[in-house]
């Protein structure tokens, strides 16, 4: 194979890494930063995809669909936090596992009632529908490049809010020592409800943006859930930088694994995770202890 072949694969790898970070961003916030084990992450992603499908169909425009869909996702997140998650902060993590697993089942059933069992897709917006010639017979869709750009914006935004702002400081402090932060006069309940709904909206946003290059179908969240946990675990909890590097690593290993070691393709990512956890149990950028 020529050099251009590997360059195109490198592009595929980086682009896949961006997509993975975007997909895992909601989980990074809820699990990585807030420490809530959220198995329903895939369901929120699915919710976003179905909202995009539905609202784009109604309005005829993906951007309008996203604009209308985000507040709905935030509202869903807010209700879930207030009605269910909020009573579990004091309890063992196992309760969160149980509760969010129940949410998966509920969301799957709701999805079926609301949108049925067909496979759907969302059209790529007109002005991003073009493509770039890569090699003599392969082209690259502009929309995929757009997703990469969107991912960089999301990553930078998250990093800035969590690491550099007062809000981010309160969230990090609240996740570490809830009572202490509360006694300093900060309404942690309201804060967590807000951040949780942001996390849900972020997961849904990823589902919306990815919908034109993915397909929208029942059970789609389950594929997303596992790989998202891998991203956060490799990167180390509590670190957005870690999640980003983790996503990029997975993109590279997964893509070149498929090309160079096709028989091992399905286990490459998990092998990478195992190696990293053996070497650094807290993940690449996680704090030890």
């Amino acid at each position: 194979m020529e050099l251009s072949f590997y360059l195109v694969q490198l592009l595929n790898a980086v682009q896949y890494g961006f997509l993975l970070f975007l997909v895992a961003s909601g989980l990074t916030l809820l699990f990585g930063i807030m420490g809530i084990i959220n198995l329903a992450h895939g369901s929120f992603y699915m919710l976003g995809s179905y909202l995009a499908y539905w609202l784009t169909g109604v309005t005829g425009n993906l951007w309008l669909g996203i604009l209308l869909g985000l507040p709905i996702a935030m509202l869903v997140g807010y209700l879930v936090e207030r009605l269910a998650i909020s009573s579990l902060y004091k309890r063992d993590h196992l309760y969160q596992v149980l509760l969010t697993f129940a949410l998966i089942l509920i969301f799957n059933e709701l999805q079926q009632i609301l949108w049925g069992t067909d496979v759907h897709s969302v059209p790529i917006p007109e002005f991003l529908a073009g493509s770039i010639q890569l090699t003599e017979n392969q082209v690259y869709p502009v929309y995929r490049l757009f997703i990469s750009a969107a991912c960089i914006v999301v990553a930078a935004g998250m990093y800035w809010v969590i690491q550099k702002t007062r809000l981010g400081m309160m969230v990090r402090a609240g996740a570490t020592n809830r009572e202490m932060v509360q006694s300093l006069g900060i309404n942690v309940n309201r804060l967590f409800a807000l951040v949780f709904s942001f996390g849900v909206a972020l997961a849904a946003f990823a589902g919306m943006l990815a919908s034109p290059v993915d397909s929208v179908y029942p059970g789609m969240g389950e594929n997303v859930l596992i790989i998202s946990f891998v991203v956060v675990v490799i990167g180390g909890t509590g670190s957005i930088k870690g999640a980003f590097v983790g996503a990029m690593l997975i993109g590279l290993v997964s893509t070149f694994g498929k090309v160079l070691l096709p028989e091992m393709a399905s286990i490459m990512v998990y092998a990478l995770m195992a190696v990293i956890l053996l070497w650094r149990p807290q993940g690449l950028f996680g704090r030890a202890g």
Partner: protein
């Protein structure tokens, strides 16, 4: 979850049924035929194990709806007896298959068992049901083994074996003039069997497989493989993907600009029932299947119109397979006038059945697998249209079956 609901309803049923069965046994001991003992109006129990949630939800729903439609056309009577359904969501989860099958057979004592969609669920189901179990009709699961080494007199299939799905693809592509082909499929049991069937006939006909690419199941990130495909520059590619993966594959393939230079072929699932989701990306894609929307026979026209009317959805191959499962059970029960005890006679009627199916003529092989025509189809204006018959009376070798 529907499972939970079932338990509540059926516990009562079970007690009543148990009482009837005991009465039946008591009278049977004084040599009265069982059908009289239970009475002509006793209900026939049909157990259904299909997925209604997850990726295969649509398939399960269409199969069930079409089968129920066939029964409704027959007045909801099987050989003069009314029907009781025990309908369970398999969730297409192999881990649950054994337990759910046991529940239908041992607890519910069903007379017929219909299911499943997923091949691995099918293996667990057939292993439990074969022999003394209920008459079982498989309306989709394609694993060769189900009518191969696991074949049994009481096991029937109205769908296809994976071999039958892959094998006709070879000659069809050669006839279209494609000699150098890349073979690409989801790397799991069914995908591998379809690919093996294709490979056998394609190489025997003088074709060359440039490369075999098995992609992890159920992953849908195809970008790296499509780049590889572009670099290999074969005449065409033969694929096996289904459901959400098939939509993604066809869209990614078109988006990578490969459609014009490397012709895309596949087992029929690649485009079956997915027209709305794939849109223009699927135009010109050729697939091989034992059914097509536009098959011009009176049964198909009537079936499609009736299915649309009763469900509001367009029929597809899964619906056809469910419809024929209903038909096959009807044939069996009508032949014995509702006496499920006359098992040998019923099986004989079913295995010799010649059905005018919406797919065309349908018969059964010695191993109770379908023998049917297979069509080469092309997506034109969102419809899977017949290009030509790819194989007449396609049979299956039923490897390992000694029936």
């Amino acid at each position: 979850m529907s499972d939970e609901k079932m338990t509540g309803i059926t516990r009562r049923d079970f007690i009543i049924k148990g009482a009837v069965a005991t009465a039946g046994l008591a009278t049977a001991s004084i040599l009265v035929p069982q059908s009289f003992a239970i009475g002509a109006q006793a209900k026939v129990k049909v157990g259904i194990l299909l997925p209604y949630t997850g990726t295969y939800a649509k398939l399960g729903t269409n199969i069930r709806d079409a089968m129920l439609m066939r029964f409704a056309e027959a007045g909801n009577m099987l050989g003069g007896r009314p029907i009781e359904f025990v309908d369970i969501d398999s969730e297409a989860k192999p881990a649950m298959a054994q337990q759910l099958t046991d529940k239908l057979i041992k607890k519910e004592n069903v007379d017929f068992l219909v299911g499943p969609v997923h091949s691995v669920v099918g293996m667990a189901m057939v292993k439990t049901a074969r022999g003394d179990g209920p008459i079982t009709v498989i309306p989709n699961a394609g694993a060769n083994m189900l009518t191969g080494s696991l074949c049994a007199p009481n096991i029937f299939r109205t769908s296809f074996s994976s071999y039958q799905m892959g094998y006709p693809g070879g000659p069809a592509m050669l006839e279209d003039g494609h000699k150098r082909v890349v073979l690409m499929y989801w790397n799991y049991g069914f995908g591998k069997e379809v690919a093996a069937g294709f490979k056998e006939s394609f190489e025997a006909g003088g074709g060359t497989i440039v490369k075999e690419i098995a992609t992890p199941f159920p992953e849908v990130d195809f970008q790296a493989y499509l780049t590889e495909l572009a670099a290999l520059k074969p005449d065409a590619v033969y694929t096996f993907y289904a459901g959400g993966g098939a939509v993604k594959y066809v869209k990614d393939y078109a988006a990578a600009g490969l459609k014009d230079s490397i012709k895309l072929y596949g087992a029929g699932f690649l485009t079956e029932g997915l027209g709305a989701a794939q849109g223009d990306a699927a135009e010109g894609v050729r697939t091989i299947l034992h059914y097509a929307d536009t098959l011009d026979n009176p049964e198909n026209h009537l079936f499609r119109a009736a299915f649309k009317k009763s469900t509001g959805n367009d029929a597809d191959v899964y619906a056809v397979q469910g419809y024929d499962a209903g038909e096959l059970i009807l044939r069996g029960m009508n032949a014995v006038k509702g006496d499920v005890g006359a098992r040998a006679e019923m099986i004989r009627a079913m295995e010799t059945a010649e059905i005018a199916s919406p797919r065309g003529k349908l018969r059964f092989s010695k191993s109770h697998n379908p023998i049917h025509d297979v069509y080469l189809r092309e997506v034109i204006k969102g419809e899977n249209r017949v290009v030509r018959v790819a194989a007449r009376d396609q049979d299956d070798p039923a490897e390992g079956c000694s029936m």
